[in-house]
Amino acid sequence: MRKVKCAPRVTCGPGSAARIAYRGGRKFLSFFLKTALLPLPGRETRWTWACGPGQIAQASSVNAAPVRRVQFPSAFAKRGSGGGCATDRVRARRWLCVRGAAGGELEAVLAKLGPPDGTAASGRATGSPHELMVWLENGDDAAVVRMPGDTALILTTDFFTPVVDDAYDRACIAAANALSNVYAHGRAPGGGRQPPGLAA
């Protein structure tokens, strides 16, 4: 029941645009930003399934397959030995983080935009009634908004190119990394579930 609606095949996507932009230097930076942030119709494949824990088995044919190990072809496998995966993470963070030694370029790009409305740095109000507690300027891995009832809403994302050879393991690592950004952001008042892999 897995639904995959395929758009016409294309040879270009945001990722390849990023590489073109990087090779060509800042000359193509605006092209990269337009391509990455404003995907063109027909360039994407969008899929949807509705599922939650326990339901996903019916929604995805993935679960029907027996557990087996499938590895990426060598061209996409982790590079180098030992910490070969490190290059990809560093490469990703080069663009995703504004702080740190590799963050200078992105910081310069964002500086041209200025801070968004609703932040102390901008001094401008926004139409949202919710306070933006943590955002880009704080150099954190997640954004946080204060919701009614003194609940903090945490929003984060993380994704990687292959960091290990095994496809399943690689996905587990990526998913755990993304989830860990939420775990790192607050102390549960009680009853919160432990992160996977951590003893209670």
């Binding site: 590489r19 290059t87 490469r91 984060t156 952001h185 607050g186």
Partner: protein
Amino acid sequence: MGGRPVVAVNLLAWPRDVLPTELAAEVLRGGRDVTDQAGCHLAGGHSVDDAEPRYGLAVTGTADAGRLLRNDAGRPGTSLSLTKPLGIGVLNNRHKATDPHAQIW
């Protein structure tokens, strides 16, 4: 312990002309198993055709606003929890600077 993940969506970039869909299925299975373990809904996602395979999640969670942990709020005397040896970032940067494969961009 920390913020509580509530719902996540997949982010998948896949070279459809190069890698089989069975491999993509393995990737999605891994993400689903981890979110199941975390008690977090996995509600769908977005995929694009790309030259390199990429996978990750966008996650929404909640925490107590009055007890929020921030990485810019450390003060002298604040306790630190180290989850891996210090220096990984330095080694990563060295690897990036010296490994020819790291310069593919």
